[in-house]
Amino acid sequence: MTNAAQLITLDNGLTVYLKEIHTAPIISTWIWYRVGSRNESPGITGISHWVEHMQFKGTQDYPAGNLDREISRVGGAWNALTHMDWTTYFEILPAHLFNISLKLEADRMVNSQFLPVEVERERTVIISEREGNENQPRFLLAEAVQNAAFSQHPYKHEVIGVKEDLYAISREDLYQHYHRYYQPTNAVLSIAGDFNTRSLLQNIKEIFGDIPSGEPVRLIIPPEPAIEHEKQVHITGPGETSYLQVAYRAPSAQNPDFFALTVLDSLLTGPSSLNMFGSGGTSNKTSRLYRALVEGEVTVSCQGSLHATIDPYLYSINLTLHPDRTPEEVLFAVDQEIKRVLDSPITKTEIDRAIKQARALFAFSSENISNQAFWLGYSEMFASYDWFENYVNHLSNVTPERVLQIAQTYLDPSNRVVGIYTPEGG
């Protein structure tokens, strides 16, 4: 029912991944651009996300409104996501009606208009989106932590951008950003579903083949220096609840350390789901930090967060405090658990369990067509599709000694930023 993924590069540089899956009569199409907040500098933070919004404003061939209608009329789902390293657009459509997604994506790769009136309307929409985020204490805390964790790297800023920049970015800024990054050599088209690879490839060549390659994107980002000593950021806001975010500088996705840190995270805060769509995760009640912190009534929840990124980003432990506990008590409890990893190393049995969990989650991730199309392109944004295909094997090679080494290297207090959100007047 499922064939291996096919990789093809068109003459104009567009990378194409195709995976035939005939389990349901649908096709999931994703186009990925190597542009996100990593490609932004102070003054234009948030511009990649804003460009993503403008891509829904239409072209001459597909005026705004017609796009929605074309997709929605066939019962399709479509949306877009902007991240630190990438921006992606997807359409999930009935197989016999999916051709519209190819035409639409080829068209808006080069023909978006960025009409000034639409730019101004979208400015307030995006500021509204940011204000919705600002209502959430966790967003405010994460933004402060990110800002403190990087001195110069663009990962310093949230994807949505700082408010001042959202007021200042011009139509020309947006159009230049679009023109620079939206081109075949900077894009990956990933499609999974109920199609014939040979005929679809022909179709893709006809629709995308004539788009000019564009200027190669050259981006030089000086490496971010190490954190060197622990930093703390305190913010206050409304409410009765306190939050703690403990963020360590993490390896990039391509660094072999990433897999060992993934296993360590699984032991500390529970395994991460690989399924972007639908169910397929597991709970984290047997993880070390849950047992120590939540069962110990120090916090009411704990979650780990490790992102696969091009450059080193952050591994965060996010905690909602028990109302009777102080941030200092919680940080002490976290450190005690990390000390336990260092002093009485993890057993092979624990690692084997983590690998078994990862295998199950990997199987869940293949249950869903869109998830497979997602991984075809997503893994290309920070490594390659091999990274995903060999994910479980990479985890299987992790040893207890390696986990100990990783804990020593990355979970040192000198490599972290501690963010504390406390209620105003609390």
């Binding site: 029912m1 389990t23 009569p25 649908i26 829904f56 705004a64 409104g65 929605d68 209608r69 997709i71 929605s72 009329r73 066939v74 019962g75 399709g76 789902a77 999930i92 009935p94 197989a95 016999h96 009606l97 101004e120 309307r121 400015r123 307030t124 929409v125 509204s128 989106e129 919705g132 600002e134 209502n135 204490p137 409304p238 409410g239 009765e240 609840t241 395994p271 769509f277 169910s279 597991t282 709970s283 984290n284 009640k285 047997t286 047992r291 069962e295 009534e297 009411v300 929840s301 909602t320 028990h322 109302p323 369990r353 078994k356 969990q357 990862a358 199950a360 869940f364 293949s366 249950e367």
Partner: protein, 431 residues
């Protein structure tokens, strides 16, 4: 002209759930099992429910049903908290329970080789929960923290306020999670008492979808649930009807320090069995769903640039439902947004939708049918819906006809029966 691919109905691989590919088994104790095989991946989705939720909560202990469902996995006659979760998490599976107004639901996901294990844990939790005191206290604290977080959530609080307006003096006026003071009042012994009255096999439904033959699924369910009985299980009461508002009613809740306000406005909607159901679904789609959030999205987001999200939503189940228009906006734009939404509502009940809009919306509902086949959990959720509302296993075969026969006038008349711009409930929560 609407085109539905023939294979959706005829191809055994792609077929929508139907009597030919779905097995329905009723156990003597009242449990109904729906099972549909899918061997494309070695996984299973299990979903189900028991009748009984927060509707049974005493007024002074609202949140009891929620805490009871929450407590099912804190310990059983055979396993403590860690032992229960160790069984689930060791195999990368998931199992969770939740409670709403009328139902206690469960949902599980596992590899098909683990069907027996997951059903044994599910049965253990449903049949022999012990509600240990220590775990109860911890979970109560977690819930109180969740309520403190809810009090700061403008969207959740606007919703809560809206329900208090449209369901005033009706059992649906209360949130399933209760309020801080009602949760504070709940004691550990309330949980087993509630459990004894509400939980049982009668009218319980379960769907198992994935890599298992229906016969094996049925045998396994019989093994773990076949001898479950609870003579003291209470049936669902008859749900009171609710009169619409006599006057427009607006309430505003101040949550200082926030940056954005949430607006929820709307009216009552009918029961799932209403003949207006399909007309209202299409109408709602046109008003605030189709494309980029329908007419509301076009007016408030695209034309006025006022909101990142603005949409309409129809909540229809058993008893009185709700038709809501929702937006998140800068506090300075609250009045303007309410005026624009109201204007769209006036327009909606003054003129029938256009032929084009109707055709688009029908096409949307029929076209998206195959998308639900994309996951076992999507199919399982659909089967549960079919069972709960007694729609019949041939529902998806009849569905195209049910949608196709709706006219512009059907939508117009059905909408006017419920949506009165002169008597809207308007709830706002923000700084």
């Amino acid at each position: 002209m609407l085109i539905i691919k023939k294979s959706i109905f005829d191809d055994p691989i792609h077929a929508l759930p139907s009597p030919e590919n779905t097995t329905r088994v009723q156990l003597p104790n009242g449990i109904t099992l729906l099972s549909r095989p899918n061997f494309n991946s070695p996984t299973l989705s299990i979903k189900g429910y028991l009748n009984g939720g927060s509707l049974f909560d005493p007024e002074d202990k609202l949140g009891l049903s929620y805490l009871t469902a929450f407590g099912l996995m804190t310990g059983t006659a055979n396993h403590d908290f860690q032992s229960l979760y160790n069984q689930i998490e060791s195999i990368g599976a998931s199992l969770s329970f939740s409670s709403s107004t009328l139902r206690t639901s469960f949902s599980a996901h596992c590899l098909s080789e683990d069907l027996d294990l997951i059903l044994s844990v599910l049965a253990d939790c449903l049949r022999t929960p012990s509600f240990p005191e220590k775990e109860f206290n911890r979970q109560k604290n977690q819930m109180l923290t969740a309520l403190a977080i809810r009090a700061q959530d403008t969207g959740a609080m606007a919703n809560l306020l809206f329900d208090q307006i449209v369901y005033c003096d009706h059992p649906y006026q209360h949130p399933e999670e209760g309020y801080t003071e009602t949760v504070q009042a709940i004691q550990r012994d309330d949980l087993p008492n509630f459990y004894q009255r509400i939980y049982g096999p009668k009218d319980m439904a379960m769907a198992i979808v994935g890599a298992v033959e229906p016969q094996l699924a049925a045998d396994a369910v019989r093994q773990y649930f076949g001898d479950w009985e609870n003579p003291s299980q209470h049936p669902l009461p008859i749900i009171e009807s609710k009169e619409p508002l006599a006057n427009p009613t607006k309430k505003r809740l101040s949550i200082p320090g926030k940056y954005q306000a949430d607006i929820v406005m709307g009216c009552l909607a009918p029961d799932r069995h209403s003949p207006d159901f399909h007309a209202l679904r299409l109408g709602n789609n046109i008003l605030g769903e189709f494309g980029m959030m329908g007419r509301l999205g076009q007016r408030v987001r695209e034309a006025a640039g006022l909101a990142y999200y603005v949409y309409s939503s129809l909540s229809i189940s058993l008893g009185p439902g709700a038709w809501e228009m929702i937006a998140g906006v800068n506090p300075e734009n609250i009045d303007q947004t309410i005026a624009l939404i109201t204007d769209e509502v006036v327009n909606f009940v003054s003129h029938p939708v256009t032929e084009q809009e109707l055709s688009d919306s029908k096409s949307f509902f029929l076209g998206r049918m195959p998308l639900m086949l994309d996951s076992n959990s999507g199919v399982a959720a659909s089967l549960i819906n079919i069972e709960r509302f007694n729609l019949g296993l041939d529902y998806f075969l009849r569905y195209p006809q049910l949608v196709q026969e709706i006219t512009r006038e059907d939508i117009f008349e059905a909408s006017r029966r419920y949506l009165d711009p002169e008597r809207l409930a308007i709830a706002v929560a923000g700084p």
